[in-house]
């Protein structure tokens, strides 16, 4: 007898495998831990995967694919959904023809993020169904369920995972066979897709009707299940917390929710009635607790101290015991730092020496905030370096304003720095401004992905390229410099001084390939030159 294959996959790998098995036609996203590997694996498995300049564009592209009747997957980390939220909210109104799965990979505890926002709230705010797998097998299975829900109710589905689901490896037994999706085809539906107020008003009502039907369906959905146990303690939980609960309270009766918006409130009420005491175990925001209590169902929630950081087995034990004593502090690990030979060190040394006020951004270079540089004064969100720097320049007295510099990476610049650069030209501060673009020809911090400024696709194939200095010049900025930072020459320092003293708008592009992938980058460049040479050598068509 053939035993089913047992694979050890991360949650990200499982999602990618399911997407491939389910015939997802297009995956788009922007790199962001812990979601990045989903599209990388999907591509390795032969899927059509693309990096978009940012998550808003990625979601718009996948909405387009889903309007065309195809199955589409959009991936991002939690803060990425902030960027993509504009299309998400209205896509709930328009609905889709095919399937649209939006993966939000949250990061409770901020292993590598600026905040630990809980994106389950987005499902409520936007009005979309939400699934939450608790391990890799469920990440695989729930993808098929998500696609079925999306196609049946013609609505985007939020597929919400967290770091411990994305990056934990658990056993997956894949399906033997999968149905092929319908071929893509355009069906005109003007009143459904064009959200002018006259059409949006009935669309909203249709959305609420869909959600009511989904809630009713959810009452008997196999995505939620009860693990039998004693009647004294009932626990309601979802996601990775379910696994911690099973270990921390093996004797408890557990209602495991997999389809967590709209909630199956009747099922929840019945479960609560059948147990003596019911505790809700969830990471982050008290989303479940608030929704269940709002429905008049009495449940216990965790103390406020447990909303910070991720949960684990010891913390779940504490919550169940209502232990409010101070938690043990873990010894700090060794923090990351800029690679020894990273050219950005030269830039940060210069900024520190000239006592600049630095509006920073998100990437490897954010490490310039640590010792020995301590050369970043603010870092808020992707692209904020431009706006924040300009805001400072507009209000500070001249002796301070003249020292303000914005620092951004190449990928972050394409993501959301371009509109900030337009702001710089459109509303120039009285003493000018200096933007430094740190261009290492890659999206480094997330694992060296390509982006529109590298001129290579996700699969490292040549494609259209954004030339940063040309872009800056096209906006009418006269002082645009490209420099390769070298230690010991003082060249970068002098250029920075010149720009700061000029009282004009200036863009300094500090360009040198990331040392960790310098060899690979050379290979890609050589391939591109061969490709171009072959094109020029070939005879022109008659």
């Amino acid at each position: 007898m053939n035993e089913p294959k047992r694979l050890l996959l991360s949650g990200d790998e499982a999602i990618a495998l399911a997407a491939r098995h389910a015939g997802v036609a297009l995956g788009a996203g922007y790199p962001g831990t812990p979601s990045t590997e989903i599209l990388e694996h999907f591509s390795e498995l032969g899927g059509h995967a693309q990096w978009s300049p940012n998550e808003k564009v990625a979601l718009e592209v996948t909405i387009g694919a889903a309007f065309g009747g195809a199955r589409a997957l959009c991936t991002m980390k939690h803060v990425g959904l902030n960027v993509a939220s504009d299309p998400l909210f209205t896509a709930a109104y328009t609905g889709v023809s095919g399937a649209l799965i939006v993966v939000s990979a949250d990061d409770p505890g901020m292993a590598s993020s600026q905040n630990e926002q809980d994106n389950r709230r987005y499902a409520v705010a936007a009005g979309v169904p939400m699934l939450e797998p608790s391990d890799s097998q469920e990440a695989y299975e729930f993808m098929f369920a998500a696609i079925e829900l999306s196609e049946r109710w013609k609505i985007p589905v939020l597929f919400r995972v967290t770091t411990r689901v994305c990056h934990s490896y658990t056993v997956v037994q894949p399906r033997a066979a999968n149905g092929a999706p319908r071929p893509a085809s355009f069906e005109r539906d003007i009143r459904g897709r064009v959200m002018i107020p006259a059409y949006a008003r009935p669309a909203h009502r249709r959305l609420r009707q869909k959600l009511a039907e989904l809630q009713e369906w959810n009452e008997t959905s196999p995505l939620n299940r009860i693990v039998e146990g004693g009647a004294e303690l009932g626990v309601i939980t979802s996601g990775i917390s379910f696994m911690h609960v099973r270990e921390a309270a093996p004797e408890a009766r557990v209602l495991k929710l997999g389809f967590t918006h709209p909630l199956p409130l009747k099922k929840i009420a019945q479960f609560v009635k059948g147990v003596g005491r019911c505790e809700v175990i969830e990471e982050g925001d008290p989303y479940l607790v608030e929704a269940i209590r709002a429905a008049g169902i009495p449940v216990e929630g965790k103390a406020d101290m447990y909303r910070f950081g991720e949960l684990d087995v010891p913390r779940v034990r504490r919550i169940l015991n209502n232990d409010l004593s101070p938690e043990p502090t873990k010894p700090p690990g060794k923090p990351p730092q800029l690679c020894d030979a990273c050219q950005y060190r030269i830039v940060f040394e210069a900024l520190r020496k000239q006592d600049c006020i630095v509006a920073g951004d998100i990437g490897c270079y954010t490490l310039g905030v640590l010792q020995p540089f301590e050369a970043i004064d603010s870092c808020v969100c992707m692209g904020a370096s431009l706006g924040v720097g300009l805001g400072l320049r507009h209000v500070l007295p001249p002796n301070q304003a003249r020292r303000v510099v914005s620092v951004i990476g190449d990928s972050t610049f394409v993501h959301s720095g371009i509109s900030g650069l337009v702001e710089m030209v459109y509303n120039p501060p009285p003493n000018g401004h200096v933007l430094i673009i740190l261009d290492n020809s890659t999206t480094a911090m997330t694992g060296h992905q390509e982006h529109p400024g590298t001129g290579r696709t996700l699969e490292h194939e040549p494609t259209g390229k954004v030339i940063l200095e040309d872009l800056a010049r096209s906006l009418g900025i006269r002082r645009v410099y490209v420099i390769e930072p070298h230690a010991g020459t003082g060249e970068f320092d002098r250029l920075l001084t010149d720009c700061l003293e000029s009282n004009e708008l200036a863009v300094i592009i500090a360009r040198r390939p990331c040392i960790l992938i310098a060899k690979q980058l050379k290979q890609y460049e050589d391939q591109r030159c061969e490709c171009d040479a072959a094109k020029t050598a070939a005879p022109a068509p008659a």
């Binding site: 990056h167 934990s168 010891p314 010894p331």
Partner: protein
Amino acid sequence: MTKVTNIVVAGLGGQGVLRGTDILAEVALGAGYDVKKSEIKGMSQRGGSVTGDVRFGDRVFSPMVPAGEADFLLVLEPTQVEPHRYMLRPEGVLITPDAVPADQLPSKKTLNVALLGALSAHLPMAEEQWLAALRAGFAETFFEGNRKAFLIGKGGQKSKVSSLKSKVPAGGEAA
């Protein structure tokens, strides 16, 4: 509650912490256990601390080893021992670079494999399974060096093994 064996591997980015947990998880999976492996690797490329948890048994729930419940703690970098000691059970086994004679290793890069060898002396999986996982997990050219490092690590543990082996349950059911 069925017994789960908990192993934590710690070190710095670039030392092969996660590759070590890959091999370990592969061996446990092949032996028929339920296996879960978790890691925080957002900062590993920049020389930050890296920790990987591997748990195996008949049924594993949480992918993270609870603090104070690690049966084995492998640490590749001396500075990372104290920050991770809290993970270890009172009677748990700590395996550090001291467990292997560094001058006998084929190369410094095989330290992670050598420590896996030391760990293997305490676990019920057969040597052949480990060697098969090592062969599959690295380029063929590295196999001889890895095999040597693995056996050096294993050999160094002989005196410590007998009292501990009974604490680890023997082979799981195949799926």
